[in-house]
């Protein structure tokens, strides 16, 4: 194995001590090393928030865009050059709230990207408001009487849309998480990895201890190809299932469906403006 280094020296990491983000960063680096990914061919795409800062701390290409908007540029990047490994990573507010519409349609589009969502059930950077995944009753500076809306269930939504790969990990479990994220990246098509993660400052309910006590690993008998069984797993809330919930290998990816990549992968940057193109089109205007 070649020595690949994803570390950046002398950086000031803006995450709180004890934050789950540190573990997620470690998991991701290990995954990319294990998969022998050349950092030059990896693009991290993120939105805004504490989780969305992850590309700043890993030595790859990155596109740190707008809040909620990681998935559209990730789609544009992967379509423009399918040779790149594209990872869209942000927090629960970013992906499931602000970017909820993009989340739905990225799944439908089935672009070959890996969508990693740090899910700590609270807004950190804006200081403690509810997130789309906060549980009812969760009291915040805005939701004074506790959250009254039902929580967004990303796994159930993804399974209902027939997503290619749906998994949940807990950032406290390094080994298991590395294996799952690896499979997500290797999956051809859209892959969702929802990462349970405590926020040590603003979420005093869903702590490390809480996640340990309220989650379990799905056993090997689970049929990941069975959508109904997957949906049953996805909607379990008493204890949150961890691992791969659903795999759907039917259907082509977004890039495979693009004519330009039918015969061979053509990175768009390799195409120069060609004056012949307009001449070809003008001919069609003569057809009367």
């Amino acid at each position: 194995m070649a020595v690949i280094n994803y570390d950046i020296e002398n950086i000031d990491i803006a995450w709180c001590p004890g934050c789950g983000n540190h573990s997620i960063l470690k998991i991701l680096k290990q995954v990319l090393i294990d998969l022998q990914k050349d950092p030059l061919n990896v693009v991290m795409v993120s939105g805004i928030g504490q989780a969305a800062k992850i590309p700043q701390y890993i030595k790859t290409n990155y596109f740190n865009g707008l809040h909620g908007r990681a998935l559209p540029p990730a789609t544009g990047i992967k379509a423009s050059n399918p040779g790149l490994t594209v990872i869209a990573e942000s927090g629960d507010g970013d992906m499931y709230g602000e970017g909820g519409n993009h989340f739905i349609h990225a799944i439908r589009r089935n672009t070959d990207i890996t969508n990693i969502v740090h899910n700590n059930m609270v807004y950190g950077l804006t200081k403690g408001q509810a997130s789309p995944t906060s549980n009812p009753g969760f009291v915040t500076p805005v939701q004074n009487d506790g959250v009254s809306s039902l929580p967004f269930n990303p796994l159930a939504v993804a399974v209902s849309l027939g997503a290619g790969f749906v998994a949940r990990i807990f950032c406290g479990d390094f080994k298991e998480s590395v294996e799952t994220v690896k499979k997500a990246i290797l999956h051809k098509g859209y892959a969702l990895v929802d990462v349970l993660q405590p926020c040590v400052v603003f979420n005093k309910v869903n702590t490390y201890k809480w996640f340990k006590e309220n989650s379990y690993y799905i056993d090997n008998n689970h049929d990941t190809k069975n959508r109904f069984k997957a949906f049953e797993k996805a909607i379990e809330t008493e204890k949150l299932p961890l691992g791969i919930i659903y795999i759907n290998e039917e259907g082509k990816t977004f890039e495979e469906n693009l004519r330009i990549h039918h015969d061979k992968i053509t990175p768009q940057y390799s195409l120069k403006p060609d004056s012949q193109h307009v001449k070809t089109l003008l001919k069609t205007f003569y057809h009367t």
Partner: protein
């Protein structure tokens, strides 16, 4: 009854409900007449609905090149009773109406039983083809010319439909030959045969391809959709990716991602969609991404008049997006300019790493005329401006002119890092406030470079002028034609293809004038205000229109005459 003679120009209007086939007649007639050697101009106005209502198309056939919209109708073919009412402001004492017996009017009318003829052929849906045949018959064209175009047009349909339509056209044609009341004797010019009949949407899309466009993500919205469907159509033949995004927010972010990874991307939208795109516009400004936005204007605020025209989004294009960043705004005045400027937009975007907005409107995108092929050929200035990276590559390296060489991930040995936060030279997030000042300066400095590469405004008229008429966008031909017709003494005409940044020469022209007359399709005179502000001049004479329709030739002539007295 008097005879009607047309020798230089004839203004034909067809009007009916959506679904009555007005569009079909427009296509058939303009193609046939263009191929027969006439200069043809067509524009339409339509309601925001799929069936019913009143939609009309104006087809102007002339010996000279016709490039503007005339209000007054010479020949009207109403396909239903509503049409006459709908067009009452355009019917004059000179107008001749060709219609069925069931259409009542107090105006001059020749009875032609379009419906009866169609019904005899088996279905009243053929009435539009009978009407097309009738009008074409008035030109005394060889029927073979008609037959070829009609059969090609219906080639995708069943044999029966194709055959019935040809028959319908023939019946109408024969009927016209019987008439001796109307004589159309407009000089033909065989060179139009080689011209291309294209509209503004075609021109923007073709110009984009000339500029190397190979990626499009958009969300459909009238009147910008034509450009999107064109590019999607071209993607069948050419290496282009066209994707319908879930909303305009996604469309613009996808396009910026595409540019980042080496594509040359465009988005097409209208006011409301552009509103959703402004966050992305600001992102392009911050990460110094090239971007081309086609903004086809329609009357606003909010949903406004979805299928009508206006020049009301200039301020929005100028000021949309949070923060300070350079941008370029181009506004084609006609189809040739739409091609040229759309191509140029890609050059500007790529070279200066800025968003470029192509500002059109419903009138321009939906207007056709015959264009020479030589005006639709790519210029030679298009090439890539990005660079192959080396280890330690800095996406935002501070340079003397503000431009940092743009790298593409996967092309070279460097990492390409872009950040919507304020960033350092590498592209990493920073809160170093001194660096913030440097980076702001670097971004804005590009404007100085751009200012040496602007398109001059087009000046027409005597250099010793007292009055100066200024216009932009799709009013070009209406104003130019009126100016040439009136030949007003001591008056010149200044037309702008580039609205931002403004060329310094504009100030020289404006400051020489005693009276400036601004002509625009909006309520406040947005461009006139911009000129006042930028060049410290007073422009109190303004010819404005905002009822959702384009200026007609007659209207410009009459309103210009009023202010020039």
């Amino acid at each position: 009854m008097r005879n009607y003679e047309f020798t230089d120009r004839i203004n034909i209007v067809l009007c009916g409900g959506a679904g009555q086939g007005i569009q079909t007649i427009e296509v058939l007639m303009t193609r046939i007449l263009k191929n027969a050697g006439y200069n043809v101009f067509a524009t339409k106005e339509y309601m925001s609905r799929v069936r019913g209502g009143s939609n009309s198309t104006t087809i102007t056939v002339s010996s000279a090149e016709g490039r503007c919209f005339y209000n007054n109708i010479d020949l009207l073919i109403p396909l239903d009773q509503n049409a006459v009412k709908h067009l009452k402001k355009r019917i004059t004492r000179e107008t001749l109406i060709l219609a069925d017996s069931n259409i009542e009017t107090r105006h001059n009318k020749i009875l032609v039983d379009f419906n009866d003829i169609a019904v005899k052929l088996g279905n009243k849906v053929y009435a539009n083809s009978v009407a097309a045949g009738y009008v074409l018959g008035l030109f005394r064209l060889d029927f073979k010319v008609l037959e070829e175009v009609v059969s090609n047009f219906f080639s995708g349909k069943s044999d029966e439909i194709s055959e019935k339509n040809i028959k319908a056209v023939r019946k109408g044609y024969d009927e016209a030959l019987k008439s001796d009341k109307i004589s159309v004797d407009i000089a033909r010019n065989t060179s139009t045969d080689n011209d291309l009949l294209i509209n503004g949407s075609d021109a923007v899309a073709l110009g984009a391809v000339a500029g190397g466009c190979n990626f499009m993500s958009s969300y459909p919205m009238s009147p910008s959709t034509g450009v999107f469907t064109n590019i999607a159509k071209y993607s069948k033949e050419l290496p282009i990716i066209a994707e319908q995004a879930e909303d305009e927010i996604s469309a613009i972010n996808m396009a910026i991602g595409a540019w980042y990874a080496g594509s040359r991307a465009i988005v097409s939208t209208s006011g409301g969609g552009f509103a959703l795109m402004t966050e992305g516009l600001s992102l392009a400004g911050m990460i110094e991404s090239p971007l081309v936005i086609h903004l086809a204007q329609r009357p606003a605020p909010a949903t406004g008049l979805p299928t009508r025209t206006e020049q009301g989004d200039l301020n929005f294009a100028l000021y949309g997006g949070h923060g300070d960043f350079p941008r370029i705004i181009l506004a084609p005045g006609n189809i040739e300019q739409a091609f040229k400027l759309s191509e140029k937009a890609f050059y500007y975007a790529d070279k200066y790493q800025v968003p470029v907005i192509i500002l059109t409107d419903q009138y321009l995108v939906d207007t056709y005329y015959n264009v020479r092929e030589k005006d639709l050929l790519p210029s030679s200035e298009n090439s890539h401006f990005f660079t192959e990276t080396s280890p330690g590559y800095l996406r935002y390296r501070i340079t003397d002119d503000g431009l940092s060489p743009r790298g593409i991930p996967g092309f070279g040995k460097g990492l390409v890092m872009v950040d919507s936060d304020e960033h350092d030279e590498a592209g990493r997030i920073t809160e170093d406030l001194d660096l913030r000042i440097k980076m702001s300066g670097k971004r804005m400095k590009k404007l100085d470079l751009i200012k040496n590469d602007l398109i001059e405004p087009v000046f027409t008229g005597n250099k010793n002028y007292k009055n100066l008429i200024v216009a932009w966008g799709s009013n070009y031909h209406a104003v130019k034609n009126a100016f040439e017709t009136l030949e007003p003494e001591g008056t010149a005409f200044l037309f702008f293809e580039q609205l931002y940044p403004l060329h310094e020469l504009a100030g020289v022209y404006l400051n020489k004038a005693e009276n400036i007359i601004g002509i625009e399709n909006n309520f406040t005179g947005q461009f006139t205000n911009l000129l006042e502000h930028r060049f410290r001049v007073n422009i109190d004479k303004r010819i404005l229109k905002y009822n959702g329709l384009a200026f007609s030739q007659e209207e410009i002539i009459s309103r210009l005459t009023e202010v020039l007295i």
